[in-house]
């Protein structure tokens, strides 16, 4: 991604440099050639519609190439591939709290392997922050009250700057850290040192202890919709609209259950806003997503067996 951005940047620099040079040279040459000398008067000229139109239209088409190239890159930046490893990021004044799917937690550091698509699912506990990795030419604001995402595929092992790019208070400039890119085998080693339970396991326990299982049953139709296979699928709502059940929808449905009622269900679920923390919410979301077995496994590098597909799990839940 960085190389694509750089290529576009070089193109823009060349075009802008050319334009700047053109204007500077034109101004300088004309200013010297037509400097005021006694006995030579200015020559009145009205203007030229042909010139005006051409220097409006031609630059516009040049700008369109900027737009199209930029849009293509942006589109790719904003479309995480389906097989990406997911990492949850919670920002707060003034630190980055990071939780891997395997349950590994870090603060102000993010370890990732090379050659792996990594998708960050980010939210903030207080004000707006922005996750900025200059080396990857990427940045995304992190907002309270919803998820934003960012994805990348690191190519070269090393230690890269992580900055907060949205002003967030006193220690804004201290809210940085490192992205540590490792070769896959080093990464596996690092990951093996971690103790914790996988994130979706935590989520599963919460799902049981919060009583979600009593309504969102997976064997028969409960009072709430069956959540197996829901993630990333279109959901028909009571008011006739259809939404995609992405992370933000799942999140909203936990915090504000009546906002978008699934067709055929009653708005009976209580809100969990203020009852669960952002970390617990992340775990629940991760669990609900794990119920819709991702195409190629959530984390390609997990050495422990990925959570078994939906069927066996549901019997456990009961």
């Amino acid at each position: 991604m960085a190389s694509q951005v750089d290529a576009l940047y070089i193109y823009l620099l060349l075009v802008s440099g050319l334009m700047t040079a053109l204007i500077f040279i034109a101004v300088a040459v004309l200013a010297i050639k037509y400097r005021r000398v006694p006995g030579r008067d200015a020559h009145p000229i009205e203007g030229s519609t042909v010139l005006e139109i051409s220097w409006s239209v031609i630059p516009f088409f040049v700008m369109l190439t900027f737009f199209i190239w930029g849009a293509v890159i942006f589109f790719e930046e904003r479309t995480p591939p389906a097989n990406a490893t997911e990492v949850y990021v919670v920002a707060k004044q003034w630190m980055w709290k990071i939780e891997h799917m395997e349950g590994q937690r870090e603060i102000n550091e993010l370890h990732v392997p090379t050659g792996q698509n990594v998708k960050l699912i980010m939210t903030s506990q207080d004000v707006i922050h922005s996750f900025f990795i200059p080396a990857f030419r990427l940045k995304q604001d992190v907002l309270p009250g919803r998820y934003t995402t960012l994805w990348f595929n690191a190519t070269k092992p090393g230690r890269y700057h992580l900055f907060c790019a949205e002003y967030c208070g006193t220690q804004h400039s201290g809210m940085g850290g490192d992205i540590i890119v490792m070769a896959p085998q080093d990464y596996a080693q690092w990951m093996a040192g971690g103790p914790s339970a996988p994130l979706q396991e935590t989520g599963k326990q919460l799902f049981a202890s919060l009583g979600c299982v009593t309504c969102h049953r997976s064997d028969v139709q409960g009072r709430g919709p069956n959540l197996i296979g829901v993630y990333n699928k279109p959901v028909l709502l009571e008011d006739g609209r259809t939404v995609i059940a992405d992370e933000n929808y799942v999140r909203e449905s936990i915090l504000d259950p009546t906002a978008k009622i699934v067709k055929g269900f009653k708005p009976v679920m209580p809100t969990f806003q203020g009852i669960i923390s952002d970390e617990q919410l992340n775990a629940l979301v991760a669990y609900i997503k794990s119920l819709s077995q991702p195409p190629t496994g959530t984390a390609g590098l997990q050495d422990q067996p990925a959570p078994s597909p939906a069927q066996p799990q549901k019997t456990q839940v009961q």
Partner: protein, 227 residues
Amino acid sequence: MEHEAHNPALLHHFADAQQQKNAASLGMWLFLVTEIMFFGGMFCAYLVYRLAHFNAFAAGSQQLNIWLGATNTGVLIVSSVTVVLAVKAAEAGKRKVLVGYLVVTVLLGMTFLVIKGFEYKEKFEKHHVPGATFNFTDKFDDNGKQIPVNPKEAELFFSLYFVMTGMHALHMIIGCGLFSVLTVLAWKGHYTPGYFTPIENAGLYWHLVDIIWIYLFPLLYLISRHS
């Protein structure tokens, strides 16, 4: 300057009364445009949030008193009629009629504010004022269906309700003050058929405040009663 002798209201830098009147009128209209944009920011917020939290907005809207709202709309419309008749009286040089209509307009404006005050009082009593005491337990009731509403989002609705109607009420208060001053000046005979620009411009302002309410009424009270 040489015109000063002809018309005491004519300022020195205008060529004639016509130019001065046209300038004042255009100035007032431009000011009304700024008012449209000022309220526009709030309308924008309202539309965005209604889209995002329809259920809560519907439930909040149900709690507003549609009859008081409609009555207030009527009061404002009648006051707009009296304003337009006041301008007409000023144009015709009927001083007493002018003063009469201005007084009625101020009274109608105050009636609006009093009714609005009763509505606010009701909100206080029902704990529908955002803040620490906010409490929203009422359920959206459509054909017997009970729908719980996230009270936080209902609080958002009432925040907007108070900001929008409060800003409008502030404009009403300013308008009442303006017309009170004009009433006194009109009584003293400041306005002639040749010069009544302040009456006209205050009238334009009053009509705009009326128009804003004409939109606030359906947006806040009416459109979310059914989904």
